[in-house]
Symmetry: C2
Subunit: 557 residues, 2 copies
């Protein structure tokens, strides 16, 4: 369903005449991290560094930042989406709508709405959210909760194609921002909490035709199938692909994380359970796997391996390495040679960890603690981090100038025991008994982390943890939000708070920065929701109103 | 029910230590229009001029206005309320909540919530709104949709007293901001759309005890009863008192408007129907009427007489007159000698008027058109203005420096005929058949009106009419909002648009300005709702998201 905006004067289709919404190319996508006039990719570049070379806004003048426009989405279900920007038009998604907004004024240009059968929503575990769109050649690509990938005309919002990925009644859903890599639209699925078998798919951007499907859990006889019990466990083996991968166009490899094996209870699925809780290096044209690395074999705690893969060139022993950095829910920050999957470093980035004492650099495997061994033997134990991880989906940012990774960490654990579980269609597929949820006094910390050691150069503790994305810039700034509404700028070198603005809802979105006519802007969505808001039971969020709105800030001049 | 804010750090009861929330006196209320550090009364002064002597923000620098904080109320039902400000604390009401907000930062200090039996809401005709609070001696007074007046402790939000005014099941409701005059809390009722008999009441601010009730429709034998048919019509005769009156402390007279007679159909209630669609000059201590003036005898069109009464000193023929100005829904702008109720001027302020050709200055009565006479004879006719009036409740502002009244007018009519009507408890009490709603191309116009002639010095046409209040300042500025979200500053002398900001919802609130530590602030609530939004069927508002939020702006420095 497409609706034009009718609001008097404020929303005029004619405005499109004033902005150039030209089709953009694969080359534009490759250069996205270097061209701050556009934001074309999830992560502000294929490398997902969420770093901008813009420095108009910097430590000296950031206190002059003021809102220049706001755009209300009417979405009360949580705004986790990252805006895209092309040709003076901002594109923003919610689980039910896609908006085109004039970036200069904040006026709506078009909107596209999705209606869901309420039955669809029975198997959305963690918030009816959407995390953003992808763009190529005049089309905007997004996913839907009811398992479709759709392409919209960027000029009109009209649907160009709509392809069903699979049947939502199997427990699948889609919240992911697609990735366009080497001319293929790649999208993953959620659902390991409901007993799905995970996969990743490639689509033709022109027609929406499926080009390939990569199952993340092998069928009997396929490579990796020996890491599963010899029963039907693989059929509901999990390994969702619900966060967007990154891409190295020179190596032509996409790095995509996979989720937890199903069920959470590890005792009923002996083995490493490949390729769950892993990163897969994939050829985008074919979906073939070049290499894989498993963060958490036989993942005992629903750690997933989906968190973002940040690509950078890091120095190690005098050598420049093409690495992938990944702060896993399991509490370790992995640095991996992205040419071959070899582990270079893996250090804890959380304050408290009890499930493993480290990662063996030779084997790449975690060194399980006695606590975890007791857990695997069926006992109730206290494990840190807990299911929400040392960091959840909220993406970190990497600043090549400071060499630091900025991440909103979570500092929590739980008292937990394995419990019997049987797969039932569309039923929660956990098999654990949680005796108690545990938290440090500061449930979250914004940390500036040295990737090779996991150690924090500075830290900003938060009583209520942050599920906001992070942005960093050449202006030596770090931007992030709070579920209590504050949007804040920090000094990238010291963590000093330099500026703050109270938006009207909680921030769980992904800030971006961009420029237009020589002026730098910062945009973030504010709209509380998501997994912690729904399941966290945090009384301190009780009075935070639901959103949502897109806020755009610039220096006052 | 009182709830403290728990949001981490953002909301701290301790903040009250940083602001002085001293009790304020009757003298403070009398001086409110001269003391811009506080906003203690509905209308920014007993005279309801909505004029501020502040000029820090002026025509030269208003373009530097930026939002400094926003406070989300979580109210999606329309924000028509005017904020109050005292001792560094802002008080804001919605139909269900009262908020105390730190004016410096926008952080919540306390909130008080009201829960309604859903049955209460059956007889709310025009939006579940509230228009604001009154304040005296450390207590905040407000009304509730279910017919209570309550007093809250300004420091804690705890309820001090709660008095039931009458039974909502009779069709009554309360949305009005109370008036504290000469130490009495005065509050009126709505309900003439549901067959009530209107009244106004005075309460003791200390105890909540009722001091007096003034019926606006006389019982048989009482003065004015001869203006009603000799049947039971008076029992359901209307005359609601749903907008706050103004007060002249020197004359000790409160000027309070009364609403339409019931039912709308005038043919079934022959006579002038006193004291409906009138202004009553009342002694606040006793509720006694000193004089009355009826704007629309036998009100044929639900014009009401409730619109605000703005008090000023105007020159007429070399003489300074203590006047009351009133832009009635019937399309005439009345200037009345407020010492005695004598009519000084009454001129049309709308572009099109067909119901009357003028007002006879000697008798004070409208000169009915043939069209209206045809209507009274039972025929279908085209009448301008229509039920929503030439101006609805949205209060105008008067600037003594320009001598102009700034009002958001409505330019509409209807094709209508009387229809049979019988009173049934809790049922709509109209008795008209509307064949068609008619509008000028510009449904509303912000006009700068000469009070003595009704002529506009300048006009800003609006395709979607504005139901926002107006504010004017010594900075020669006029502020008002739009239901499409824009908050705008105009040059008070020319109407030139000088500044605008897009809030996230539609503005139907009442802007105020105030100062703190030598800095001037402008505050307005944004949250669409109200009668036009609900009943107007305006497709251009379909995509405006519901609010609400309190926005505070200041000059960037």
């Amino acid at each position: 369903m497409i609706r034009a905006f009718f609001v008097a004067g404020a929303f005029a289709a004619g405005l499109l005449g004033g902005v150039s919404a030209l089709a953009q190319s694969s080359a534009d996508l490759i250069n996205d991290h270097r061209t701050p006039g556009d934001v074309l990719t999830y992560g502000m570049g294929y490398n997902q560094q969420r770093y901008s070379p813009l420095a108009h806004i910097n430590r000296g003048n950031v206190k002059r930042l003021v809102p220049v426009w706001t755009f209300a989405t009417g979405n009360a279900l949580g705004d986790e989406s990252q805006p895209l920007l092309h040709g003076g038009v901002m594109y923003f998604t919610t689980s039910r709508s896609t908006f085109a907004i004039d970036a200069a004024t904040g006026k709506g240009l078009w909107r596209h709405d999705i209606e869901y059968d309420p039955d669809t929503l029975r198997t959305i575990c963690c918030g009816q959210v959407n995390r953003g769109a992808a763009i190529l050649d005049g089309k905007l690509f997004r996913t839907t909760l009811d398992m479709h990938v759709i392409a919209l005309d960027v000029k009109t919002g009209k649907e160009v194609w709509k392809t069903q990925s699979d049947d939502y009644k199997l427990g699948y859903s889609m919240t992911v921002a697609p990735l366009v890599a080497n001319g293929v639209v790649i999208a993953g699925v959620a659902g390991a909490e409901f007993g799905v078998r995970g996969y990743l798919e490639g689509y033709d951007p022109e027609s929406g035709k499926k080009l390939w499907r990569l199952w993340t859990v092998p069928a009997p006889g396929e490579p990796g199938s020996d890491t599963w019990p010899k029963n039907d466990a693989w059929k509901v083996g999990g390994g969702s692909t619900w966060l967007t991968g990154s891409y190295d166009p020179e190596l032509d490899l996409v790095y995509w994380g996979t989720g937890n094996p199903g069920p959470w209870n590890p005792t009923v699925r002996a083995g490493d359970n490949l390729y769950t809780s892993s990163v897969l290096a994939i050829r985008p044209k074919t979906g073939q796997v070049a290499w894989h690395y498993q963060f958490t074999p036989n993942d005992p705690i629903d750690f997933d391996g989906n968190n973002e893969m940040i690509l950078a060139d890091l120095k190690q022993g005098g050598q420049t390495r093409r690495v992938l950095m990944h702060a896993d829910r399991n509490g370790f920050l992995y640095v991996i040679d992205r040419t071959n999957g070899r582990l270079l470093a893996a250090n804890a980035f959380v304050d408290k960890m009890t499930w493993a004492s480290g990662v063996d650099l030779k084997t790449g495997r975690p060194i399980l603690s006695q606590t975890t061994k007791d857990y695997l033997a069926g006992n109730e134990v206290e494990l840190w981090p807990a299911v929400s991880g040392g960091k959840n989906w909220q993406p970190a940012a990497y600043n090549p100038e400071t060499g630091l990774l900025y991440a909103n960490t979570l500092e929590g654990g739980w008292l937990v025991a394995p419990a019997p579980i049987e797969h039932k269609p569309r039923a929660i597929f956990f098999g654990v008994k949680v005796a108690k949820r545990l938290w440090s006094d500061d449930r979250g910390i914004l940390k500036a982390i040295d990737p090779m050691t996991g150690k924090a150069k500075w830290r900003v503790p938060r009583a209520v943890p942050s599920y906001s994305g992070v942005l960093t810039t050449a202006g030596k700034l770090v931007f992030s939000g709070a579920m209590t509404g504050e949007f804040t700028a920090y000094d990238a070198e010291t963590g000093a708070k330099l500026w703050e603005f109270q938006t009207q809802s909680g921030i769980i979105g992904q800030p971006v920065t961009w420029e237009r006519d020589g002026k730098q802007y910062v945009t973030v969505a504010s709209g509380i929701g998501g997994v912690y808001h729904i399941h966290g039971g945090d009384a301190r969020l009780r009075n935070v109103p639901t959103g949502g709105a897109v806020w755009t800030f610039a220096l006052f001049d």
